[in-house]
Every structure is written in structure tokens, then in C-alpha cells.
């Protein structure tokens, strides 16, 4: 007799073997030599994770209780596999072309990448998976207990053993399922290990069966007699349960996350389905072949009251065949582990992709780049979710008391997960199905399942006996197991009937009443018409459906009117047999060109490719397109703004152009003036120098006089050039201000004498020195330059007989104001606006300067932050200089 310790060692050894296989398979696949890993056989075998420990142990138990009812669980999947041509093929094609990672991903991407929906499916899958995992825990624990009973040395306690089994499976699943993070979510190693496990469990069951039939009963004939003679010897299956269970198992076969994982996500080649279509039903047939014989023999041989769920173990044990019992134990262990690994993988993928990652990403949003740690975050998220899922399974087992028969726990899980079916099938075959419909349907079915099956299944732990008996608040028609007063139904049948029918009705009604978003409609067309979009030859009706899609899309992009015109023109071109054109390559090319005008070439190509082409586009691409179109909308509204802005800009440009033309004219005239001012003194210089060179017999007086003229004119040239340079520096703004502090008085003290020096004309300057004690913070030299200019102008141009210049300084409204007024005839009004322009000259005196002085003064005052203006009404010419006091205040 094998002791418990040996059993544990065998289990560990088996796990190590599985790891080895998985590792080797991954290595082979990485090396590119693992073609056989992707064979139809491996695919078929991997599908057999459908057969869990529940199947392994529970089928016999079920048969011992209710005869042939157990086959329903196998017949459902058989029907699904047999109808692969229009069912699974479509599911697999969609799953592959949309690159989905889980059933939650598939549902969410069908309904416009709705994460809400993904979360709903995830929760449903986790809750549906919880009883199932509890089931695996129970079966392993029970099988341990059988060996423990027979092992007098073992210190076996049920409670702690469940915990350790749960913990062990969690570690196992974490190590297996999250070893690597594959981009396309395919796991060569795991799939291969699972295929191996299917072989092990099939072999174990067949071995026990063969032992029972030929070893115990003595052949097929006697076995059959024995069956008929047994207490389950007559066909005695409830019609409702028979139909419901076939349907339920078919539904669960499609909807179970772990089945979806191996069937769709891990599918390497659609053609594998062709083989699996017959090979997998065959596997199921073999699995169930010996179930009834084992049950019958168990009932015969074992004492009254022994658990029929464990006949697979106890029958060989009772016959003293320990090694067969060990093999059978390993078969059951295989079933449990493979189921747990794949379920945990599938569920953790869903949890991390649809719950943890969105939350994590939204938390990271503020901090910008996230690329670095994502893989780690995903891995941690998956590991934690596996642990949580296993913990949930453990608590469910504790809450349900571990007493319920294996089969009924499994059916509870089936009924839960089947709530996805309406949304899934509707999404694949009905383009009118909407996100709202899916959400409403799922919620209705889900809540009904919890209320009528899950909570009552916990046997008083979460739902009181009164509610069960008399309904909540005494409302009899709401009794969980007899909704609307219909009593006497089997609880599972009751739940399946109500939840799925109300789920489907809610789904359809809400779909009909709601309106899908563009992305949903696009995805709907992608899913429902997946074959038209890819390989199979298209029929005429399929083409028109595509034209409809194209029409919808085109209308959205071009607007209804232009789109209809375009399509009508195409119909006419094609001969007008229907009201929609056939999607011929020529038409599609024209359409693409037409669309690319609105949305850009790449987008148009991608959109048409999605509807028509073989190119499959992921949800991310679709989303990108959707974003792009949203941006286009935003952009077009921006365009309107822009065009207004453009008009404005054009006007500004015209204005700028006018200004430029003016400036250019000013420049021409400036150059022409500069030329004049330069040529005039040069003319005199040249003429007199030639005279002095060529003329003989000039008198000494003449020579002196002409040389003086040449000298004066040369000085005039120099002054002109100095002024021009000064002006150009000032105008270009490159002048460096040399800011210093002094009083106005001392600036004037310096300016007056230097202005008056070197001239024989007299000018009396009158100042009120007491008012001039104003502190200045400015470029004192430049300011002095302005003063000198004004004073020497007065000296040159004042036409009074006794010229007098009055300089008065005041402090007016925060500004220093200095007025320079002479007693001459002043500047005539029509010339006043001109005096600050370059080369503007008033009066006839030419020798004075080039007419740049006041222009320079104006520029200087602008640089100093003040201004210089002509001051009318003062009798003579008067100029006012203003300086901001701010300079002064800033200096204090």
C-alpha cells in the first residue's frame, strides 16, 4: 500500500516531469524545430482540458447516481465540434484575425472595445471559475483522503490538506502560466504539457476501465449483463435535465475561459479544427466509454454508502491493485492540474489586461513614459490574480462545506459561464447586436445565476433558509429556486432556463433599442462577415453586404449626399443591376482614392482593408483609426477657425506688403537723399581740387580760399557720415545704452558750452538752474547729444536779431519735461510734421548739416524711453523733451 508520503513524492515527480516537458517544448519552439508541437494532434489533445477532475471522478459518480445522464456533459461539446464548419471555425477565424487574448477581449472588441464589458465578462469568468476550482480542490483532497484512510501512519487532516492543495496548485499555476509573457499569448510549453496530461488521464481511465471490464467482470458480454442487472440498469433520465445539460455543456464548452484559451488563443492553424472536429469527440467517447462499467462494478463491489465519486480509485484499491489505483490517482491529478493551470492563465490574462492594466495605466498617466515596467507589472498582476483566484476557490470550497456532489458544482460553474453565450453568439452572427444589449443581457443572466444558483448552492452560508423557502421579503414569486411560482424544477434546469432566456431576451431587446457606435458597427461587420473578409470565395449576397458596409463607412466620411452620389455613379458604371455597386477592385480603388482625400491615404486603405481585404487589423489599429477620425473631426472644426485666421492673416499680409512697399520707397528716397548729400560736397571738393591742380597762376589768396572750401566740404562729408552711422546704429536698436546717474543741471551745464563753441553766431541761453535739480537715471551722454543738437539748431536757425534760447525744466505727471524755446520766427506749421524726418531741412542754410540732427534726437529719445516733440505756440521754434520718471524711481 502506497503511503501518503509516497503519493506526495509521486505528485511532485509528476509536476517536475511536466515542467521538463514544457521547458523542452519552449526550447524546441524557440529553436524553430517544434513543428510537431503545432500539429493537429497536440491541438486536439490540448482541447481535452475540458475533461477535468470533475469528469475524471465525477462522471463515474454521476453515472452511479443517475445512469447515463453523465454523457450529456460530453455530448454537448461533441455537437459543438461537429458543427465546427459554421461555429468554431468562425470563432477561431475572428479570434485570430482580431488577435484576441481571451474571451473577455473578444466580447469587448466585438462591442467596440468596451472595457466595461470586458470587466463584466472577467468578473463572470472569475466567479464562474471559482466553483470549478473548488471542485478541483475537492477532488484532489478526496483522492488524498482515500489513500489516507488506507494509510495508518499518515497524519491526515482534511482542512489543512485542502489549504495545502490550493497553495500548491497556485504556485504550480504561477510557475507554469506566467513563466513568460508571450506577445501573442501563445504558450507552446504549456500546451504541450497539457497534451501530455490528456494522454495520461485518458490512459489512466482506460486502464481502470479495461481492468474493470476484463479483470473484474470477465469481458464485454458479462459486463453488459451486469449493467442491466444493476440498480441503474434502466434508462431513467429526466428529459429536462438531458436536454438542458447537453445544451449547457455545449455552451460552456465555447464560453469557458480555459477552453477559449486552448481553442482560439493557442490555435496555430485554423485547419487543425478539421482534425479536432472528429478527434476530440473520439477522445470524449473514449473518456466516457468505461464510466458506466466502473460505476456498476463500484456499486456492486463496494459497501453501501461509499462515495461513488471516488470509484475510479476505490475499485482498484478494493481489488488490491495498488499500482492501478496510483495510476488512476495520477490521472485525476493530471486532470485537476491541467485545468487549474489553463484556467488560472486565462483568468489572470483577463484580470490583468482588463482590470489591473487599465487602472495601473490611468494611475501612471501623469508621469509620462510607462514602457519600461509594463512587462513586470503585467507579470506581477497575473501572479497576484492567480493567487487571488485560487484563494477564492479555496473559500468557496470552505463555504460550500465540501459536501456537494462533484457534478453539481461543475454544473453551477457551467451555468454561470454560459451567460456569455448570447453576447458571444449574437456578436458573431447578428450585426445588430450592440454593446448595451450585451451589457444588459450579461447583467441579467449573471444576477439571476447568482441569485438562483450560486448563493443557494452555498447552503445557508450567504443566503438564509427563509429566503430560500419563502422568497425575499416574503415575496413567494421571487423564491430563488422557484421563480414566478414555477415549482418542482431541477435547480440547474430552473436556473439555466430562466437566466439564459431572460439574458437572451434582454440582450435582443436592448440591442434593438440602442444605437451602436461607429467602432461597434465596424467591428460588428468584421465579426459577422469574417469569412467574406478573408479567404473563402464570396457569394453575391456577401458582396452586397460589404457594399453596405462600405456605404456606411463612406457616408460617415464623405457625408450622406456625396457618398450616395458616388455609389450611384458606380452602380451606373457597372450596369446598374442593383442599388449598390459590387465591390470590384476598380471600384474599391476609386473609393479608396475618394476617401483618402478626406481621411488620408493610409487610413482610407486601412478602413477599406478592414471591410473588404484579407488584411486583418487588430483592435488597437481600429482604435487608432477611430481616434484618427475623431481627430479629423476636431481638425475640421479647427480648419474653420483656421480659415478665418487665414483671412485675417491675408489682410495682415497685404498690409505688411503695403508697408514694405512704402518702406522700400522710403529706402529709395533715403538712398537718393544720401547720394545727394554725399555728392554735393564731393562736387565742390573735386571742382576746386581740379582747379588748384590745373590752373596756373592762382593767387595765394585764391589758393588759401579754395583750400578752405575743400576743407569745409570735407568736414561736412565727415559729419554726414558720422550722423548716418549714428542714425543707423540707433535705428537698428543695437545701440548700447551707457546708463548713469546725474542731475539734469549738470547734463545741461556740459551741453550748453559744447553746443555754442566753434560758432561765431551769438545765442543767449536762459536757464532756471533751481528747477534743474532733477536726478536722472539714463544714458547721460546720449541725452547730452540731444541737448547739444537742440541748442545748436537754435543757434543756427534762430532768425531773431538777438537770439535767445530759454530752457525750462518741470516735473509733470511723473515725467521730466524740458522745453527748448527760442525767440525766432519758428517753424512754419506745414513743415512741423517733417522736422523729425531724415534730411528734412527748414530754411536755406545748407552748411549747417545734412538734416539728420532731429531724426537722431528722436531716435535717441525713443531709446531712452522718452520722446521729443515740436511745441507749438511759443512764439519761436520750441521743442519739448520728455523723460519718464520711472528711470529715476528705479534708481532710487
Amino acid at each position: 500500500m502506497a503511503t501518503l508520503n509516497v503519493l506526495i513524492l509521486v505528485c511532485l515527480g509528476y509536476v517536475v516531469l511536466l515542467f521538463g516537458v514544457a521547458f523542452a517544448a519552449d526550447r524546441l519552439a524557440a529553436a524553430g524545430r517544434g513543428a510537431w508541437l503545432r500539429s493537429p494532434l497536440v491541438y486536439t489533445l490540448s482541447l481535452s482540458i475540458y475533461c477535468t477532475a470533475w469528469t475524471f471522478y465525477g462522471a463515474v459518480g454521476n453515472a452511479a447516481r443517475s445512469g447515463l445522464e453523465f454523457v450529456t456533459i460530453y455530448l454537448g461539446p461533441t455537437l459543438v465540434m461537429v458543427s465546427w464548419w459554421w461555429g468554431l471555425r468562425k470563432l477561431v477565424r475572428v479570434g485570430r484575425s482580431q488577435r484576441v487574448t481571451s474571451i473577455a477581449d473578444l466580447i469587448s472588441s466585438r462591442y467596440g472595445k468596451s472595457n466595461t464589458l470586458a470587466i463584466c465578462v472577467t468578473i463572470l469568468a472569475v466567479l464562474g471559475g471559482t466553483p470549478y476550482i473548488a471542485l478541483q480542490l475537492q477532488s484532489i483532497t478526496l483522492s488524498f483522503s482515500i489513500f489516507a484512510e488506507a494509510d495508518p501512519t499518515g497524519l491526515y487532516r482534511e482542512g489543512s490538506s485542502v489549504f495545502w492543495v490550493a497553495a500548491g496548485l497556485a504556485v504550480f499555476a504561477i510557475l507554469f502560466g506566467t513563466r513568460n509573457l508571450d506577445v501573442n499569448e501563445r504558450h507552446h510549453g504549456v500546451v504541450t504539457a497539457i497534451a501530455l496530461e490528456s494522454v495520461v488521464k485518458l490512459f489512466a481511465l482506460l486502464a481502470v476501465g479495461a481492468f474493470v471490464v476484463w479483470g473484474v467482470a470477465g469481458g464485454v458480454g458479462p459486463m453488459m449483463d451486469r449493467i442491466d442487472a444493476s440498480e441503474i440498469g434502466q434508462w431513467n433520465v429526466d428529459a429536462g435535465r438531458w436536454t438542458t445539460f447537453i445544451f449547457l455543456s455545449a455552451a460552456a464548452f465555447i464560453c469557458l475561459p480555459r477552453m477559449f484559451q486552448v481553442m482560439v488563443v493557442e490555435n496555430a492553424d485554423e485547419g487543425h479544427l478539421r482534425t479536432a472536429a472528429w478527434a476530440f469527440p473520439l477522445y470524449l467517447l473514449l473518456m466516457s466509454l468505461f464510466v458506466v462499467p466502473i460505476a456498476v462494478v463500484g456499486l456492486d463491489l463496494l459497501p453501501e454508502g461509499s462515495n461513488p465519486d471516488l470509484f475510479v480509485l476505490t475499485v482498484p484499491l478494493s481489488q488490491g491493485n495498488d499500482w492501478l489505483a496510483m495510476l488512476s490517482f495520477i490521472g485525476g491529478f493530471s486532470s485537476a492540474t491541467s485545468m487549474v493551470i489553463v484556467t488560472a492563465m486565462a483568468l489572470s490574462t483577463m484580470v490583468s489586461n482588463h482590470v489591473v492594466m487599465p487602472i495601473w495605466l490611468s494611475m501612471q498617466e501623469g508621469s509620462g513614459s510607462v514602457s519600461g515596467d509594463v512587462r513586470n507589472v503585467v507579470l506581477v498582476a497575473r501572479r497576484v490574480s492567480i493567487a487571488v483566484i485560487m484563494a477564492l476557490g479555496y473559500y468557496y470550497y470552505r463555504l460550500s462545506g465540501g459536501g456537494a456532489a462533484l457534478a453539481s458544482i461543475g454544473l453551477i460553474a457551467f451555468a454561470g459561464i454560459s451567460q456569455i453565450l448570447p453576447a458571444l453568439v449574437g456578436g458573431l452572427f447578428w450585426r445588430g447586436a450592440t454593446r448595451t444589449g450585451a451589457l444588459v443581457g450579461l447583467s441579467v443572466g449573471f444576477l439571476l445565476w447568482i441569485y438562483t444558483l450560486l448563493l443557494p448552492g452555498m447552503e445557508g452560508a450567504l443566503m438564509s433558509e427563509t429566503v430560500l423557502q419563502y422568497g425575499p421579503f416574503g415575496l413567494g414569486w421571487l423564491r430563488p429556486q422557484a421563480l414566478f411560482g414555477i415549482e418542482g424544477m431541477d435547480p440547474i434546469v430552473h436556473t439555466v432556463m430562466w437566466s439564459l432566456s431572460l439574458n437572451t431576451i434582454a440582450f435582443c431587446v436592448a440591442s434593438l433599442l440602442s444605437f451602436p457606435s461607429p467602432l461597434e458597427r465596424l467591428q460588428g461587420a468584421q465579426f459577422v462577415n469574417v469569412f467574406d473578409h478573408s479567404v473563402a470565395p464570396r457569394g453575391w449576397s456577401g458582396s452586397v453586404a460589404q457594399s453596405e458596409d462600405l456605404m456606411i463607412m463612406t457616408q460617415r466620411i464623405l457625408g450622406a449626399g456625396p457618398a450616395q452620389e458616388f455609389f450611384q455613379a458606380e452602380v451606373d458604371l457597372q450596369g446598374g443591376r442593383s442599388n449598390l455597386p459590387e465591390p470590384t477592385p476598380a471600384f474599391l480603388e476609386r473609393l479608396e482614392r475618394e476617401l483618402s482625400g478626406s481621411v488620408g491615404a493610409a487610413t482610407a486603405h486601412a478602413m477599406i482593408g478592414q471591410i473588404v481585404g484579407g488584411s486583418s487589423v487588430s483592435v488597437e489599429d481600429l482604435l487608432a483609426v477611430a481616434d484618427e477620425s475623431a481627430q479629423m473631426l476636431e481638425y475640421s472644426s479647427q480648419l474653420e477657425l483656421k480659415s478665418a485666421e487665414l483671412t485675417r492673416t491675408a489682410r495682415q499680409l497685404r498690409e505688411a506688403n503695403t508697408k514694405l512697399t512704402q518702406i522700400s520707397e522710403q529706402k529709395d528716397s533715403f538712398l537718393s537723399q544720401v547720394s545727394h548729400e554725399l555728392r554735393t560736397p564731393m562736387t565742390s571738393i573735386r571742382a576746386f581740387s581740379e582747379i588748384m591742380r590745373d590752373t596756373e597762376g592762382l593767387s595765394g589768396e585764391e589758393q588759401t580760399r579754395y583750400a578752405a572750401i575743400i576743407h569745409d566740404e570735407a568736414l561736412r562729408l565727415t559729419r554726414l557720415l558720422d550722423d548716418l552711422l549714428d542714425l543707423s546704429v540707433l535705428e537698428s536698436g543695437r545701440v548700447n545704452l551707457n546708463v548713469g546717474d546725474d542731475t539734469l543741471r549738470s547734463v545741461l551745464d556740459r551741453a550748453v558750452p559744447s553746443a555754442l563753441a566753434g560758432s561765431n553766431r551769438t545765442l543767449t541761453v536762459r536757464r532756471t538752474k533751481t528747477t534743474e535739480r532733477i536726478p536722472l537715471h539714463t544714458d547721460l551722454d546720449r541725452l547730452g547729444q540731444v541737448f547739444i543738437n537742440l541748442i545748436s539748431n537754435a543757434q543756427k536757425y534762430c532768425d531773431a536779431e538777438e537770439p535767445v534760447l530759454t530752457i525750462a525744466a518741470h516735473d509733470v505727471g511723473g515725467q521730466v519735461v524740458i522745453d527748448f524755446a527760442d525767440n525766432g520766427s519758428g517753424i512754419p506749421p506745414e513743415a512741423r510734421s517733417m522736422v523729425f524726418e531724415k534730411f528734412a531741412r527748414v530754411g536755406v542754410d545748407k552748411a549747417g548739416g545734412a538734416g539728420l540732427g532731429l531724426a537722431i534726437c528722436r531716435e535717441i529719445m525713443q531709446r531712452l524711453g522718452g520722446e521729443i516733440t515740436y511745441l507749438p505756440g511759443q512764439g519761436g521754434a520750441a521743442f519739448r523733451v520728455r523723460l519718464p520718471m520711472a528711470y529715476q524711481q528705479a534708481a532710487q
Binding site: 537723399q673 554735393t680 571742382a687 576746386f688 582747379i691
Partner: protein, 126 residues
């Protein structure tokens, strides 16, 4: 028989240089520095030749020339025009206005003398 030239030029130094040159050639030189009354001065002086600056205070040389050519007995009067701006546009404008010779400042003395001689020779031949 004395030859008379009227020089209308507002730059005193240039006027003095031209007066010096032409006097030595045997011309009788009269000068005037104002644009506004130049037309009357020309009519009053009745010169054999006019030397006219473009940039004059009061009235530009171009306008003076245009007005001069409007007068019937003045159409044959040789006019030598001087400008310091030196733009081709000025030369065109002057030719349209009926100038006899156009010179850009600064000029060489020989240039000036040759121009005056040529103009005078043409005028006396015709």
C-alpha cells in the same frame, strides 16, 4: 560779343567753382540760388546758356525747365542740367522736359567745359 551764362545753383561753393571755370573761358557768369523765381530771372537775363541744378529751394529744376520750354521763345535755349541724386529716372525726366545736356555731380572740370562749348556751338550753328 560776350557770351552770357546763367547759373542757377543753391550750393555756393559749387556756384563759385563753375563761375571761376567759365569766367576764364570768357563767359559772363550770372548766378542765382533760388528756385521759385528762377523762370523770371532767366527771362530777364536772356542768357545764351543756362546751367540749372535740380534740387533748388522753392521750386525744382525739373519744373523750371518744363515751364521754360512752354514758353515759345525759350525752346531753343540750351540748358545744361546738374544733379547730385544720380538716378536714371532723373535723366529720363529731364530729357522729357527738354533738357539739352544732363550731368551728374561730381563732374570733372573738363567735362563741364566741354559740355558748355558743345552746347554753345550747336546753338550758334542752328
Amino acid at each position: 560779343m560776350s557770351r552770357k551764362v546763367l547759373l542757377i545753383e543753391d550750393e555756393p561753393n559749387i556756384a563759385e567753382a563753375i563761375r571761376f571755370l567759365l569766367t576764364r573761358e570768357g563767359w559772363q557768369v550770372e548766378t542765382h540760388a533760388e528756385g521759385s523765381d528762377a523762370l523770371q530771372v532767366i527771362q530777364g537775363a536772356d542768357p545764351d546758356l543756362v546751367i540749372l541744378d535740380v534740387m533748388l529751394p522753392g521750386k525744382s529744376g525739373m519744373e523750371i525747365l518744363r515751364d521754360l520750354r512752354e514758353l515759345e521763345h525759350m525752346q531753343g535755349l540750351p540748358v545744361l542740367m546738374l544733379t547730385a541724386r544720380g538716378q536714371s529716372r532723373d535723366r529720363e525726366m529731364a530729357e522729357n522736359a527738354g533738357v539739352s545736356r544732363f550731368m551728374t555731380k561730381p563732374f570733372s572740370n573738363t567735362e563741364m567745359l566741354t559740355a558748355v562749348r558743345d552746347l554753345h556751338a550747336q546753338a550758334t550753328q542752328s
